[in-house]
Amino acid sequence: MARITALARLDPAALASAGPDPLVLREVPFTARLLLRGDAALLALALETVGLGPAERVGAVARVGERRALRLGPDRLVLLDRPGEEVGLEARLAPLVGERGGAVADLTEAMTTLALDGPEPAVRATMAEGCPLDLHARAFPPGRCAASLYGKVPVWLKAVEARAGRLRVELQVDRSLAVHLARHLALAGREFGFRFES
């Protein structure tokens, strides 16, 4: 039987609004997602262990292919990867974490990924509506991440790519709060047109 996603029962019609080049929200379910806790030295070693470059400053992102690491705080790092990779990644990190007194927790099922795509000004304006951070391109360029809020919901966000005037923001959100977040984004983005694709 198929796994049931966080937004499986959300009706796309309820979120839709018309526009010439609408924003598109998609759920990217079951992204492999591990939360790593520990001191800076441990986190640096962990990145090396899974074949990623450094992400020393809070807000930095390290990436190779689908595997990416978001430095969300001085003592926390989240690893994201293709669905299913969480098992192997956790097994590789467990000895290091055990040795160095850190922690690794599998949040694959605890959260889901929502990706908001569209013309860059529309995406930034929609994000700014609910998020208190400075999301101007100067302050939050592609390749940056942050732990913040959108409206009343905690989110981890990452600006992914800007090409030909378009931007994608990925949001990691708790499973039970994903519907609320999707509804809020749809309302915030309705002036640009909005589509939810399940």
Binding site: I4, R37, G102, A103, G151, V153, R175, S176, A188
Partner: protein, 405 residues
């Protein structure tokens, strides 16, 4: 300035986040009536067409006592606690002996505030020497998380311990009742469910309906019972399989109302009902949960003169003399129902026990009046007074034989 300017978009659907569990749609499809618990929606009961809520809850509770019931307990708080000092940390927070807990076992205990009053309760499972799983109350989960982080980050930063909330990732299916093992055996693999191999207050990993599950042998009903922790995305198929495998056992979905009746029959406390921020473990008669020979938050305060007063409230069972009269929760316990009568305590929980066929209640009564056999009156505005007799706060199977079956 208008209220609209303050509320912004947080109106209607967006007024506040409504959190639903991985089994919400499953429960709704079975006719569940929901209630709010914090931001969560939880099933109150699963009434059949034409069945009243109270009758549904009684039917569900009876099914758990006589056969097997299934409940969605996914909203319970869950925390992963890891690190070389995890045992030391939890030993200071929980009233029970955590450091001495063997891997594979769980233990129920309390968390006290520094003033010695109960903050929350829950089960601690030892997953590995340096790794624990906490299962806590639904309503207290955010408060407990803040409490754990405060002590870890600001009071004991020298302890190497990391706390991760995990409730979102798993669904919890409570399988409770004398036939719970029989039902689980049909769906389980890779785990020995016999009482010898899997005693009360232990946990094991296995598979249920082909889905990886962490199984806790715990009970909030007083019956032999298990809690299945399965990945959120596969919870529906697990519970559907359990229902399909056991038509002869009549597995019955049960809601919060039945759960309250079951725990009331056993006298199990519910944080927020039997506790109100002023109640100590001694008031609740839970001295057995205070591990001797170790220190924990709130321990010293338990010896304050205030907490040692003989007239501190004491948890008691209340049996109405008229077995159909239901005492009002929040009602005052008085000598005689007359204006100005001094309060000797309050009713904390009450219900119609389907097992005993009568009304029962729990209450907190002045310790110097909390004698078995004492008769008091429950007084509540606009309700007829109810005469009750005091007794020990457990109405069913005080030896716990059903629990260990």
């Amino acid at each position: 300035m208008s209220f609209g300017a303050l509320a912004g978009v947080h109106r209607g659907d967006l007024f506040r986040p409504i959190r639903t569990t991985p089994l919400h749609a499953w429960a709704a499809a079975r006719g569940a009536v929901f209630e709010d618990v914090g931001n969560w929606k939880r099933p109150t009961a699963f009434p059949r067409p034409g069945e009243r809520l109270e009758a549904a809850a009684a039917r569900e509770a009876r099914a758990v006592r006589t056969s097997v019931g299934l409940a969605d307990a996914s909203t319970l708080g869950a925390f992963d606690v890891q690190g070389p000092d995890a045992a030391t940390f939890l030993d200071r927070i929980w009233t029970i002996d955590v450091a001495g807990l063997p891997v594979g076992r769980c233990r129920y205990g309390l968390v006290l505030k520094d003033d010695g009053t109960v903050l929350d309760d829950g089960v601690v499972c030892r997953l590995a020497p340096n790794r624990f799983l906490l299962s806590t109350t639904t309503g207290g989960a955010a408060r407990l998380h803040a409490w754990l982080e405060r002590w870890a980050q600001t009071e004991w930063p020298n302890l190497r311990v990391w706390i991760t909330p995990l409730a979102e990732g798993r669904a919890v299916i409570a399988v409770q009742g004398p036939r719970s093992r029989l039902l689980l055996r049909r769906a389980a693999s890779g785990v020995d469910l016999s009482p010898e191999a899997f005693p009360h207050m232990a946990w094991r990993d296995g598979e249920i309906a082909g889905v990886a599950a962490r199984i806790l042998r715990v009970s909030f009903t007083g019956e032999t019972g298990f809690e299945l922790q399965v990945p959120a995305s596969r919870a529906e198929e697990v519970i559907d399989t359990l229902l399909r495998l056991g038509p002869d056992l009549e597995p019955t979905p049960y809601g919060l109302e039945a759960m309250h009746l079951l725990r009331l029959e056993k006298g199990y406390i519910l944080v927020g009902h039997e506790t109100d921020g002023t109640v100590t473990p001694r008031d609740l008669g839970l001295e057995r949960l205070l591990a001797p020979g170790k220190d924990f938050l709130g321990k010293r305060s338990l010896d304050l003169a205030e907490h040692r007063r003989p007239d501190r409230p004491r948890l008691v069972g209340l049996l109405p003399l008229d077995p159909t009269a239901l005492p009002a929760v929040g009602g005052q316990l008085v000598e005689r129902a007359e204006p100005g009568a001094p309060s000797l305590g309050r009713v904390s929980s009450a219900g119609r026990s389907p097992t005993l066929g009568r009304t029962i209640a729990l209450g907190l009564v002045r310790g110097d009046r909390a004698r078995p056999g004492e008769r008091l009156t429950v007084f509540a505005a606009d309700r007829p007074p109810v005469e009750v007799e005091l007794r020990a706060p457990c109405f069913l199977d005080p030896e716990g034989a059903r629990l260990r079956g």
